[in-house]
């Protein structure tokens, strides 16, 4: 049970970075930390004590009862690639903002203000 709580603390650190920090790179890093914590939480939910990887190594004695949950692993396989795409998109937008404004500070991005 303490693993879950550590995962929530990691999520909270990412939330803190998004809420408080004013550098765009720091905000993207906070989003990455939140994604990592959700990945590790889902994979912790699907773990079974004393189980092995969900791959059949012996066809004469298959043991499907002693394997971890394969569904969460398939979901996280999708989620990791999605997080990579999101990070790429955010970084390119941040670089374009730097070209236009000359800084990563989000207080300077006020061309639409007023």
């Amino acid at each position: 049970m303490i693993e879950y709580i550590l995962t929530f603390i990691l999520f909270t650190l990412g939330l803190y970075a998004i809420l408080i920090k004013r550098n765009l790179i720091k905000i993207i890093i906070g989003l990455s930390i939140m994604e990592y914590s959700m990945n590790v939480f889902l994979i912790l939910v699907g773990y079974k004590n004393g189980a092995t990887i969900p791959v059949f190594t012996s066809l004469t004695e298959p043991r499907p009862d002693a394997m971890v949950d394969p569904v969460v692993q398939a979901m996280i396989l999708t989620l990791v690639v999605m997080s990579l795409a999101v990070t790429f998109l955010l970084i390119t937008i941040a670089m374009r903002i730097y070209d236009k404004y000359g800084t990563y500070d989000i207080r300077e991005l006020n061309k639409l203000k007023g």
Partner: protein, 173 residues
């Protein structure tokens, strides 16, 4: 498992360094430490496919974040903002409280429910002929899911290329 707790504490420390430090390059290196620790956690929790994928994805995202940080930017925002800090700490406290309440509803660590997963494990090899059940799920049972994922990745690559090109951008100015 004590190994997972140790690596999770290491990940928390690395994340705190990544958020707190004033040096942007050091921050990127610390986030790389968090991702590689996540890869080791995947390996310890019996999912080697995810460990390999996480390693590759982590290195790719590190390279592109370093490309963004390589622009010399000297923004070091370090000031005290009591109201914003207080409000966000209250928000995080609310989140932690409700998460711990919700934690009582889910099964404990090491005893999953596995209603769908046990069916896949029982019938997966007979129905698909693939020994690796994770591959059987993502490529056979949930192939439409994978198709949507590939189309979203393709769309994101097109969006990145549209944002990053400079030709049209200069002509308009």
């Amino acid at each position: 498992m004590i190994q997972i707790q140790i690596i999770l504490v290491f990940m928390i420390i690395a994340a705190a360094i990544a958020i707190g430090t004033a040096d942007l390059l050091g921050s990127v290196v610390a986030i790389g430490a968090v991702g590689l620790g996540l890869s080791i956690v995947f390996l310890l929790l019996q999912s080697p496919d995810l460990a390999i994928l996480q390693l590759v994805v982590e290195i790719l995202s590190l390279v592109i974040i370093i490309r963004a940080v390589g622009i010399k930017d000297k923004v070091n925002v370090r000031e005290r903002r009591f109201i914003a800090t207080t409000i966000s700490i209250i928000l995080m406290g609310i989140f932690l409280t409700f998460a711990n309440i919700a934690l009582l509803e889910i099964p404990g660590f090491g005893t999953p429910i596995m209603k769908i997963g046990s069916e896949y494990l029982k019938n997966g090899f007979v129905q698909t002929g693939v020994p690796n059940i994770v591959s059987a799920i993502i490529l056979d049972y949930r192939a439409f899911d994978m198709l949507a994922q590939v189309s979203i990745a393709f769309a994101s690559i097109i969006a990145v290329l549209m944002i990053i090109r400079k030709k049209v951008y200069k002509e308009k100015q």
